[in-house]
Symmetry: C2
Subunit: 352 residues, 2 copies
């Protein structure tokens, strides 16, 4: 019916169609807005795993709703919300790259330099990325509102949509606070993971699709039982990839999270199990912006030697099991059960 | 019926009630979110002229709709959108103050210092202000959707709401581009003014209220004929206040726009009429972050001596006349005509 590849192509087409009608009124205001909206188009069409739309789509089908262009458009709108979250996150983290290419604020800093404009190119780049993120957040809303579902379906979806948007921004803030605190708490790291990944990436998209398909509270609970542990598995896999991932697959430099000093559950577990010498190395090197390949290797070895890596792999496996167990017991259509089972495996074992 | 003062109190009450039910679910996620949502509450309740809500309310009454709590809530939601625009603007402009108090990013930089957290306090402050602005943008949407109007009224309002949100962000971007270019074009400065002030502050709020009141296209056109020139008058007054305003009334340091190097129509007109010596002074001092009181006085004198100030006052008077003329001919209720006439005078002659 709708294989992963098919779904991706249909989501991309929906995004392209939405942008093709949303962009001209903006561009007609002033030519200077062309680079801005083009950057958004490039960003959403260039990459991304389309995970949130996939969960939204299958949450809809799980409720017994038919495949439709409406649900494709509604699901695709999540990519615009995600574009906002990523652009703002990259400004906050001062990240140079995203999806293997320069981040939006870096692109606009480059535009500033190319035009030989006045003032600080980096400041200009950040301004553009903040405002383009805002535009993406607004367009996410427009795309969902215009997706073609009747008013009563949209009304059912609205509380989920509102909660989802609020939670992702609050999750980002707690993440920033956690980095500022220097981390150290496995509990707090998992709380951030729950918000940013379990709820925002998986549970809420499932609920959004289910609400648009008129799924009842029993289905919503079952989807949470599947989605929340799977979301934690997703985030824990993300933590592992941020340290051990292959740059060719992740699109981020090797050991990027180490250089950034990200306080993940993986790092918190490594700290908890490290001996004095290992603690000293971790403290000295984590968050060093100039950390080189050798430094990355040293930290990787310590994180593996403390047993933290193995512990995280076990946590991932446990959560995947819990998700699949909940799915088997859930009142969902067989076609959705098969797809959600595949998605669970893909999310937990992905390499990028 | 609803005097300016009454309206303000009712708008504030609606905002307070919305936040009182929106904040607890966020705070229940984590205690660390208390300062974040409290900062938003403080920001929207502390100040602001409530201009956009007033135009929205009177656009509604102009369409012949009755006074209601629904329109108060819908109008008040514009203050949350404005909170987003201002918080992000202050990050972009690196402004220290807003509404006579430290800007949001400065407040969170201070929190970072008080907690003795790791990393750059300014970076933390900016992150918080970006994310809190996002939250305000999301809550604006929620407050409008939940204002109590039936689905068909909200559906009529949606295209206006979408256009308004897109325009304010695009206006901000064009403003940033204009500063980076070093300005110099009266036309481009007026184009930014049209987007940021004429459309966003006046025309769109009028249209939003009218759409919620089922006003037809004839009314929308009449409201544009009134709102667009008035919006330009508003922005031109803003330009004058940014240079000549009393800090005790504006809540901003004296000559703030000069220190920032803002390329307004007033400045563009001064450049166009300046002799060589005046041009040199303007070029040398505009945008100097260390410009002191004497420097502000020198620039004020030049801007007045070139005749630019008098020209802008004339432009304001012309636009106010045009707005009042359009209002007299507009198919609006008498109560709305009186209120919109008062608002026009207040907007054009305000001192802060």
């Amino acid at each position: 019916m709708t294989s992963g590849l098919d779904l991706r192509a249909r989501l991309d087409k929906a995004l392209q169609e939405f942008l093709q009608q949303a962009m001209p009124p903006v561009v007609s205001i002033a030519d200077e807005l062309v680079p801005l909206v083009s950057a958004l188009e490039g960003f959403v069409l260039a990459g991304g795993k389309r995970l949130r739309p996939a969960f939204c789509y299958w949450g809809h089908r799980a409720a017994g709703a038919e495949d439709s262009e409406q649900i494709i458009r509604a699901a695709a709108s999540l990519e615009l919300l995600q574009a906002c979250a990523l652009m703002h996150d990259d400004v906050i983290d001062r990240s140079d790259t995203r999806r293997g290419a320069p981040s939006v604020h870096r692109r606009f800093a480059a535009l500033h330099r190319a035009e030989d404009w006045r003032g600080d190119p980096e400041g200009f780049g950040e301004a553009a990325a903040i405002l383009l993120g805002d535009l993406a957040l607004i367009w996410a809303d427009t795309m969902l509102a215009d997706c073609g579902f009747p008013a009563d379906a949209l009304q059912r979806a609205q509380p989920v949509w509102d909660a989802m948007r609020v939670e992702v921004m609050c999750g980002q803030y707690l993440d920033v606070v956690e980095q500022a605190r220097g981390g150290g708490s496995v509990d707090r790291a998992l709380r951030v993971a729950r918000l940013k990944s379990a709820k925002y990436t998986i549970e809420r998209p499932l609920h959004l699709g289910a609400a648009l398909g008129d799924g009842g509270p029993e289905l919503a609970t079952a989807l949470s039982d599947y989605g929340l542990p799977l979301g934690e598995a997703f985030q824990l896999r993300d933590d592992v990839l941020g340290v051990f991932g292959d740059p060719g697959v992740t699109g981020k430099p090797a050991g990027d999270d180490l250089r950034e000093g990200k306080r993940t559950a993986l790092v918190a577990l490594a700290f908890a199990a490290a001996n004095d010498a290992q603690q000293q190395q971790l403290r000295g090197r984590l968050g060093d912006p100039n950390l080189d390949g050798d430094g990355v290797t040293v930290l990787r070895e310590i994180i593996a030697a403390t047993g933290a890596l193995a512990q995280v792999e076990m946590l991932i496996a446990e959560r995947l099991d819990a998700a699949l167990g909940a799915l088997a017991a859930a009142p969902v259509t067989p076609v959705a059960e098969a797809a959600l089972s595949d998605l669970a495996a893909a999310v937990s074992h992905r390499t990028g």
